[in-house]
Each structure stands twice: as structure tokens, then as C-alpha cells.
């Protein structure tokens, strides 16, 4: 890391932003129902006005801490703060009921910190190597990569295949709104010139994630669950946590590496990583029967895996400009807004950006420890902030934040429409993540398909002409075959056993 990166990373502005975002991420993550993606979406209007390097640090710090802090309401109230904490919420909650909430949270805090550091170390190792290959990627290869990302989004989502696909296709449709790339024909704009550039991405994200959450919260009403009482003393909890971490250090190492690799798949994010690592941990544990009954081993695995995945998710984002999860999808949007296009050339053209990213990761994983300890000590108060105070604030920030991006009321309409859509989708069991990736990747897929076809003058075989394109294309087609088989299997199963329990909620 160069000296200039260090000075920019440790400049007062950058340190203030990282500290503020660490606290902000901890707070949002600790609020039940406010997810890490939403934390980032609400942050975007601010990053828009920051230096891109500081903006990236802000996003990194927010996600890192929000993913950890999601464990707080999960442990205390059995409501995972973010979906990434859902895998081990049962264990953590039961431990907390047994009076061990502080030590459990400290275990997940330190596991998260280690996972995050491993994640960024692997990112720094792998990404530049991949970038060397990716420099030779033209629109053919990019097309296949984006297709791969779309397929992963469906493969790894928690809903049924048909609903995940519907969500994806809705996202793809939204991506086609606006002037098309090939001939400049306005599509689905109904003469409104503000739609020529398509649905603005940030207001769309804010609508899908923030407004839908407010709506759902309004429906539930102001019934607040009681939090578990805190019983352990600080020093006793810390001692307890240290013992657990030493006992399960191999679990943490395994899940950190594995979590990073899963996160690096385009389309898979922290929640998938946590689910898979929890499942693997159970399979290899000496006490698989104790999982789900208040056993700490799974918490160490899931807790380190989901934070490791955050680092991993930046690999495809930086190297190919293809988001690894919804957070990096937002980050790519911010880079584009700042006139930087993610891709292999970013490693040679803006090395300071890449280095700042690594540095910000390391720094915020460390800054997370004091912030995390603080929130652990104050946790029972934080989770009790009434929603009737919180939600109006979130609503105003959502609306003004979206307005700040487009400077026109069209942003409000986007938030309104997509918020209602997101609310209806979640209420009916449609996962949201494929829709977001559809919106982001849809544009990339279409653009690269159209320009490829214009280059090849309509010859579809050109998609397999170049060696990398052929390899990626074959991989994508194999994945589609797999998805198709799973879809058929699922519908056969359903016909045979029409039970209400769902076999499609994978990674149990």
C-alpha cells in the first residue's frame, strides 16, 4: 500500500467518515428489520457528495458493522437484524435466554472481525490476478459473466425457483425501461423524458428495501417484543468469549475462507455464505445434534462467514464490474456516478481506489470492535427505540435521499412504485435480491448482447469464438441446465408431496 493511500485513509475527513459510518452501521444493523442493504441505500445520497475514495470507505465501514450488528436483535429478540444473521439466530437466541447474551455477541463480534480481515486479505490476493485476465474481456465475455451472475442470483436465493425467476424477470423488465442502447428507441417511457435514462437505480433500491420495510412495519403495528435481560458482567463475558474463540479457531478459519469464496460468486452474498457455512459446520461438528438448541459452534461459523463474504463480494465488482451482492451493486452505482467504471482497468488506472478499499476494510473491521463492544453493553436499550419515532425518520430520509439523486419528483414516484412492489413481493414470498440483480445486471447483459451482435452482425456463434467467452458460455449453459433440472424436480416433488413445509428453502 502506497504512502499516499495511507495518508488519504488516515486523513481526518476519512477517519471521521469511517468512525461515523461504523456507528451508523452498528445502529442500523442493531435495529430489527433495518438491513445492511438498506443502511447502504440510505447512505448513498451522502456518498454522492463525497470524494469517491471516502465514499467507498463509508460503504465498507457501514456494511461491515451492519452485518455484525444484525446479530444483536437476533440474539436478544430472535429477530435477525439483517438476513445474514438468520442462519444461527436460533442458537444465539437460546444462548441469550440462558443468560449468555453478552458472551454470545462478543463471540460473534470477534468472529466477524476475523472473518472480515481474512476476507479482505483474500480479496487483495485474488482480485489483481483475476484483473490481469479480465483486461482481455470484451463484450462477449462480459455478457456471459453477467448471465452467470443472474443465474447465481436465482440459484442461491431462498425462495422457490418460480418466484425467484419472477423476481429476476421483473428486475430485467425494469432494466429495459428507457432509451435502448442499439438504436436509441425510448421504451416504456410513455413520453416522459425523465424516464429516458431508465429507472434511477438508487431511488429504486431505496424503494425496494427501505420503503417496503416501513410499509411492513406499519402493518405489524407498534407491538414491540421484550428483549432478554442482560446478566453477565463485561469481564466475565469477555473471558467466556475468548475461551470459545480458542476452542473453535479452526471453524473460524474454515468459514472465513469459505465465506470469502462464496461471497466472490457473482450474485451470492453474505446471507448465503452464512447459511452454507453453518450447514457445513453442522456436518463436520462432533455435536451436530446440539445445533439449533443454543450451541455456540454454529455462531462462530456463521458469524465469521457473513463478514468474510462482504470482502469476497467486492472481487467480481472490482474485477468485472459485476456485483457480488446487492451492496456491491449499490457501490458500483456510486463509482459510476463518480465517473469511474469498475473493471480490470481500475487496478491500473485508479490503484489508490483499490488500496483505499483494502485499507478501509481493515480499518473498519478494527473500528468495529470498540463500536461493537459499546453496542453490546447498550444493546437492550438500542433495540427498544420505538418504531413510531424511528420510521417517520427513515421515511423522510428515504424520500429526500432519493430526491437528492435525481433532483426531481420522479425519484419520489420511483420510491413509491418500487416500495409498493417490494412490499407486495415480500408479502407473497417473492425474494427481492434477484430483482435488484436483475435491474443491475439486466442493463449489462442487454448492452453487451446488443453490441456483440452488432459487431458479429447477428452471428450467434461469435459468443463462443473467443477462448474465454467459450469457457464462460459453457459454464453458464451448464448452470442453466442445473437450474432447469432443479425446477422440474421441485415441481415433481410438489405434486407428490403437496405439504405446506417447503423443501426449497435450501441450506437448512
Amino acid at each position: 500500500m502506497s504512502a499516499s493511500t495511507l495518508t488519504s485513509l488516515f486523513s481526518p475527513a476519512s477517519l471521521t467518515v469511517i468512525a461515523a459510518c461504523t456507528l451508523y452501521g452498528t445502529f442500523i444493523g442493531a435495529m430489527p428489520g433495518l438491513t445492511a442493504t438498506m443502511a447502504v441505500a440510505l447512505l448513498v445520497p451522502f456518498t454522492y457528495f463525497m470524494d469517491p475514495l471516502i465514499a467507498i470507505s463509508a460503504i465498507v465501514a457501514t456494511t461491515t458493522t451492519a452485518i455484525f450488528a444484525g446479530d444483536v436483535p437476533g440474539t436478544l429478540m430472535r429477530i435477525p437484524g439483517t438476513p445474514a444473521s438468520a442462519a444461527y439466530v436460533e442458537d444465539a437466541y437460546r444462548l441469550s435466554r440462558a443468560g449468555r447474551s453478552r458472551s454470545t455477541l462478543m463471540v460473534s463480534l470477534f468472529a466477524a472481525c476475523i472473518g472480515g480481515l481474512v476476507g479482505v486479505a483474500l480479496l487483495a490476493l485474488i482480485a489483481p490476478q483475476l484483473a490481469r485476465v479480465a483486461v482481455q474481456f470484451s463484450s462477449f465475455e462480459t455478457f456471459w459473466l453477467a448471465c452467470l451472475g443472474l443465474s447465481c442470483a436465482v440459484l442461491t436465493s431462498n425462495g422457490s425457483v418460480a418466484k425467484s425467476f419472477s423476481s429476476l424477470f421483473l428486475g430485467l423488465f425494469i432494466a429495459t425501461i428507457g432509451i435502448d442502447v442499439a438504436v436509441g428507441h425510448p421504451r416504456f417511457t410513455f413520453g416522459n423524458y425523465e424516464l429516458f435514462d431508465g429507472i434511477s437505480f438508487i431511488p429504486a433500491i431505496i424503494g425496494l428495501f427501505a420503503l417496503s420495510e416501513i410499509l411492513r412495519s406499519a402493518q405489524i403495528g407498534h407491538r414491540d417484543q421484550p428483549a432478554n435481560a442482560v446478566q453477565e458482567s463485561f469481564s466475565k463475558a469477555l473471558h467466556e468469549a475468548a475461551l470459545v474463540l480458542r476452542r473453535f479457531k479452526r471453524n473460524i478459519a474454515r468459514s472465513s475462507v469459505l465465506g470469502t469464496l462464496i461471497g466472490a460468486l457473482p450474485g451470492a452474498g453474505a446471507d448465503i455464505a452464512a447459511w452454507i457455512c453453518y450447514a457445513i459446520s453442522r456436518r463436520f461438528s462432533r455435536h451436530p445434534e446440539r445445533y439449533g438448541t443454543g450451541y455456540i459452534e454454529g455462531v462462530t461459523d456463521g458469524g465469521s462467514a457473513n463478514n468474510a463474504a462482504i470482502g469476497g463480494a467486492w472481487t467480481p465488482a472490482l474485477v468485472f464490474g459485476i456485483p457480488g451482492d446487492s451492496v456491491t451493486a449499490i457501490a458500483i452505482g456510486i463509482l459510476l456516478l463518480n465517473g469511474m467504471s469498475p473493471g480490470p482497468q481500475i487496478f491500473t488506472e485508479s490503484p489508490e481506489l483499490v488500496h483505499t478499499l483494502y485499507g478501509a476494510f481493515a480499518l473498519s473491521n478494527l473500528a468495529m470492535i470498540p463500536a461493537g463492544l459499546l453496542v453490546i453493553m447498550a444493546s437492550s436499550q438500542v433495540v427498544r427505540i420505538p418504531r413510531r419515532v424511528l420510521m417517520p425518520c427513515v421515511l423522510l430520509f428515504s424520500l429526500v435521499g432519493a430526491y437528492a439523486i435525481t433532483n426531481s419528483v420522479i425519484a419520489i414516484w420511483t420510491v413509491l412504485a418500487l416500495g409498493a412492489l417490494g412490499y407486495a413481493m415480500e408479502a407473497n414470498g417473492f425474494p427481492l435480491a434477484p430483482a435488484i440483480l436483475g435491474i443491475v445486471l439486466g442493463t449489462i447483459v442487454e448492452e453487451n448482447f446488443m453490441t456483440s451482435m452488432m459487431k458479429a452482425q447477428g452471428d450467434l456463434l461469435a459468443f463462443f469464438d473467443r477462448p474465454w467467452a467459450a469457457a464462460l458460455g459453457t459454464l453458464t449453459l451448464l448452470l442453466w441446465a442445473l437450474l432447469l433440472t432443479r425446477g422440474i424436480y421441485e415441481s415433481v416433488q410438489r405434486r407428490r408431496y403437496p405439504s405446506p413445509s417447503s423443501e426449497t428453502e435450501t441450506y437448512p
Binding site: 445520497p45 422457490s160 425467476f165 438504436v183 405489524i220
Partner: protein, 156 residues
């Protein structure tokens, strides 16, 4: 809450509409497809998935909830609150330029607080500092030109 028959049918209908619109788009010179290709793919996907969801499983299966929230309460009062919120946002969008950011936001925040069960006094106490705070943050610090509307004479 979870009505597969209805959501499936809506998807099919929507897909058909998109497909119809997309068929009117021009095609690329020398190629058989153009701007209509991707909307059509999305539309066909929606129709197929919608049919599978709505009519494939006879709507017996409950989909897993991906929500991180506890199970939802029912009752018309509960369903009315999200509707009321949507109306508040609709009004906010319609009146923002006319009334200006401050008045519109004050009204929207107060209304939202009321919907979430706060008393009128509390709602005003929440809305006033919040609007001033957002003004300082976005208008003064971030320099977003928020509309002044009715308050234009007072603008600075």
C-alpha cells in the same frame, strides 16, 4: 396474505402487456431483433413463471417467508396502515414542488408518526426538528437544491 393464484395471474397479465408493447418496437438494421428483444424475454419469463406460480401447484403451498419480521397480524386496520402510508407519499410527491420541501416534509412526517400511533403533540415535536435537521444536512451541507415552494420569499 400469501395468494399465489392472484400474484401468478397478475404476473401473466403484466407479461402479456409488456409483450404487446415490445412487439411495436423497431428492429435493428440487418438483424431480426432489436430493442424489443429483452423486454420480450422478460415478458415471456414473467408469463411462464406467473402460470407456474398461479396454476402449477393449485395454490396450496405456502411460500417460505423471506422476511426478517415475525409473523404478521391480520385485520383490516393493519392492512389500512400501509395504504395510508402510500397515500402520504403520493401526496408528498404531488405537493412537493408547490408547497416546498419544508411544509410538505413537515406534513408527511407528522402524518407518518400519526399512522404509527403517535399522539398529535408528539408527531409535531418529532417533525419540526427532523425537517430542520434534514434541511441543514441536505440543503446546507450537501447542497441539494430542495424546492422552497410557498416559502420562496424566505429562501436563502
Amino acid at each position: 396474505m400469501c395468494n399465489d393464484r392472484l400474484s401468478g395471474s397478475l404476473l401473466v397479465l403484466f407479461g402479456a402487456l409488456v409483450l404487446w408493447r415490445a412487439s411495436t418496437f423497431p428492429s435493428l438494421a440487418g438483424l431480426e431483433y432489436g430493442p424489443g428483444l429483452f423486454p420480450s424475454i422478460a415478458a415471456i419469463g414473467l408469463i411462464v413463471c406467473g402460470a407456474l406460480i398461479g396454476f402449477g401447484s393449485r395454490g396450496r403451498r405456502k411460500a417460505p417467508s423471506t422476511s426478517t419480521m415475525p409473523p404478521q397480524q391480520t385485520g383490516w386496520r393493519m392492512a389500512a396502515r400501509p395504504m395510508a402510508l402510500l397515500i402520504v407519499i403520493l401526496g408528498y410527491g404531488l405537493l412537493l414542488d408547490l408547497l416546498g420541501f419544508h411544509i410538505a416534509s413537515f406534513m408527511a412526517v407528522s402524518a407518518t408518526a400519526l399512522i404509527f400511533g403517535m399522539r398529535a403533540g408528539g408527531a409535531v415535536l418529532l417533525a419540526l426538528p427532523l425537517v430542520i435537521g434534514v434541511h441543514l444536512l441536505f440543503y446546507s451541507l450537501l447542497r441539494v437544491p430542495l424546492p422552497w415552494g410557498l416559502l420562496t420569499p424566505m429562501a436563502w
